[in-house]
Amino acid sequence: LLGLGLAMAGRYNLGTPITPEQVDPYDVRPAVLPDGRGLPPGQGTVEEGGRVYAERCASCHGANGEGYPFNRLVAEPFPITPETESTQFAIGNYWQYPTTLFDYIRRAMPYGNAGSLSADEVYAVVAWLLYQNGVVDGAQPMNAQTLPKVEMPARALLQLDPETHKRFPWLKLP
């Protein structure tokens, strides 16, 4: 019924079986997949995002995301070239998946205080960052439906490493 794996289950009889519901409160920062799985309910606009950014992010990433003392977050919305200085790599020119942005911020930001933003706040600052990077026009709020559909300019550059392709012929990039 459940395939090969289950035939082997219980072989050592070690570990505690738990239900998916029991996992939920443990899964404090769910992984977001490129198709949007893992994104929570809620949403946020560019405008709200600007406020969140100024209050919670600007001290580390600069008033406009230009990046001091920590990473630059804003770049032109043209993908990088072999001439781009690597310190200039940022969301607009290098990031390949919009969902990564939500996942990154919920998982890790504000640095040292991750988990302190609500889902709406994360969506909002994601919207603001995508807008600042020229990736979206800011017309629609970001949420579990809209975010995965955003097209990142650098996605066009992305290919699977050829050695990895040899080793895992089934593997396709999302």
């Binding site: 395939g3 090969l4 794996g5 289950l6 082997m8 289950a9 219980g10 072989r11 050592y12 070690l14 570990g15 505690t16 079986p17 738990i18 239900t19 996992v23 443990y26 899964d27 920062r29 992984a31 977001v32 997949l33 490129p34 198709d35 799985r37 893992g38 003392p69 920590f70 990473n71 990088i80 070239t81 072999p82 001439e83 200085e85 690597s86 310190t87 790599f89 290098y94 390949q96 998946y97 990564t100 996942d103 990154y104 998982r107 890790a108 640095y111 991750a114 550059l157 992305l158 290919q159 699977l160 490493d161 050829p162 050695e163 990895t164 895992f168 089934w170 593997l171 990039l173 999302p174």
Partner: protein, 424 residues
């Protein structure tokens, strides 16, 4: 006082005394014989005289909770990296995890989600194997142009270490939970402040990935993931998730924070490569190496080599920038995906010379020259640098970076903070 050192009753002639002080040895040489040493101790520490053998932390870092430090390769012997000197790389500092409170959850596309305590994990069949772990950013200083004249072996290739790991094969845990047929990927997650995640194909996990809890015999060190981490043999260090708390079994990679915004490679033709997992062959001469100074006469050229593709089959040394090569000896046991120590006896005649080393692995791969490397990889890439490292020995015996400048434009260190901590 010196007389007394020479001990009891035997009176020293002034002549002998003079000789003893004429540079053969001094009073300190005999001092330990004078008095009882320190008593038995429950846990030993290294000699105070070794205090300068430390990991290199770049002075340019803007934070020490997201960054890396380097194993002091040229100060180490053999192939085992001592636990206190294993390179570090983390993105939210080193969490201090209580092993009693520790849990590992496997969930997602499994027949039965499971939770394991540390004790549970230790009860499974165990495996101990020696594997290198190397940061994908190792060699980053090689992207500089012109090359850094003050480079050391540590700063050239010290984001790699080699340890005897003990753990349970991840395959056993996955089988225990029962994998659903549609599953293709694992999303392991750490319990550091940034809940670090990566995407790992199920196939690799079923082959040789370890859920490790011990390092060179003792519990993992906090910096290497205490109490539990992944060891993913031969693959880039950043996929070997530390402080492992959870594995989501699923059908897509997550394209996680660091695997896309950071460990994604820029190629010379403008493409960007995802999932460059296997670490290419690598070698570094640790003696003689940058900032050391040698005298004419006999020397054993020593170095380390490794490859993510498997066993090192050969290491060659060139004294003429690649025109001719001599084969170094590899010290047994030569294990797969582990450091191997290579050696070549050599008499230095006191003339300026440049040393190169290059490793070959059982898959037939070898290291490129700098020129060859940059035909493939972007000059603005930050990872997977594995070009041959040259050391120049000047006539006065001083050793310095022997890499030649690249043609084309001058280029600052790749990545921020002096190129020694990636992108912050």
């Amino acid at each position: 006082r010196f007389f007394k050192l020479l001990g009891g009753g035997i009176l020293l002639s002034p002549l002998l005394r003079a000789r003893a002080q004429q540079g053969l040895w001094d009073a300190k040489t005999l001092e330990p014989l004078k008095a009882l040493g320190t008593p038995l101790s429950e846990y030993g520490e290294r000699a105070s005289f070794e205090a300068e053998v430390v990991r290199y932390i770049s002075p340019n870092l803007r934070t020490r909770t997201s960054g890396a430090d380097f194993a002091p390769l040229e100060k180490l012997n053999g192939v085992i990296t001592p636990n206190g000197l294993h390179f570090e790389r983390h993105h939210g500092g080193v969490p201090q995890v209580d092993p009693q409170a520790y849990r590992l959850v496997i969930h997602g596309m499994v027949g039965q989600p499971l939770m394991f305590t540390l004790e549970d994990l230790k009860r499974f069949p165990s495996t101990t194997r020696t594997y290198f772990i190397e940061c994908a950013g190792n060699g980053q200083n090689g992207y500089r142009n012109p090359p850094d004249p003050n480079l050391t072996a540590t700063r050239s290739r010290g984001l790699a270490s080699n340890v005897s790991w003990t753990g349970v094969p991840l395959a056993l845990l996955l089988k225990e939970a029962g994998i659903k047929p549609e599953a293709r990927w694992l999303i392991p997650e750490g319990m550091d402040a940034v809940a670090y995640t990566r995407s790992l194909p199920l196939d690799k996990a079923m082959e040789d990935v370890l859920v490790a809890y011990a390092q060179n015999g003792e519990a993992l060190r906090p910096e290497q993931g205490y109490p539990v981490r992944l060891v993913v043999p031969g693959w880039e260090g950043s996929i070997q998730v530390k402080w492992l708390r959870r594995i989501l079994v699923t059908d897509l990679p997550t394209m996680s924070k660091d695997e896309t915004s950071e460990y994604t490679d820029v190629m010379a033709d403008g493409k960007v490569f995802a999932f460059t997992w296997i670490m290419d062959p690598e070698s570094i001469i640790t003696y003689p190496s940058g900032l050391q100074q040698i005298k004419p006469g006999f020397h054993e050229i020593r170095g380390l080599a490794w490859s993510g593709y498997g066993r090192i089959t050969k290491v060659q040394i060139s004294f003429d920038e690649g025109k001719t090569w001599r084969e170094a000896a590899l010290e047994a046991p030569v294990e797969r995906r582990a450091f191997v120590r290579f050696k070549l006896p050599w008499n230095w005649d006191g003339k300026e010379v440049v040393l190169w080393s290059r490793a070959w692995d059982e898959a037939g791969h070898t290291q490129p020259t700098r020129g060859e490397f940059f035909q493939k990889w972007g000059r603005n890439n930050r990872y997977h640098y594995n070009a041959i490292q040259a050391w120049r020995i000047a006539a006065d015996g001083r050793v310095s970076n022997g890499d030649r400048p690249l043609s084309g434009l001058a280029q600052g260190p790749s990545g921020g903070c002096g190129g020694e901590v990636f992108d912050v």
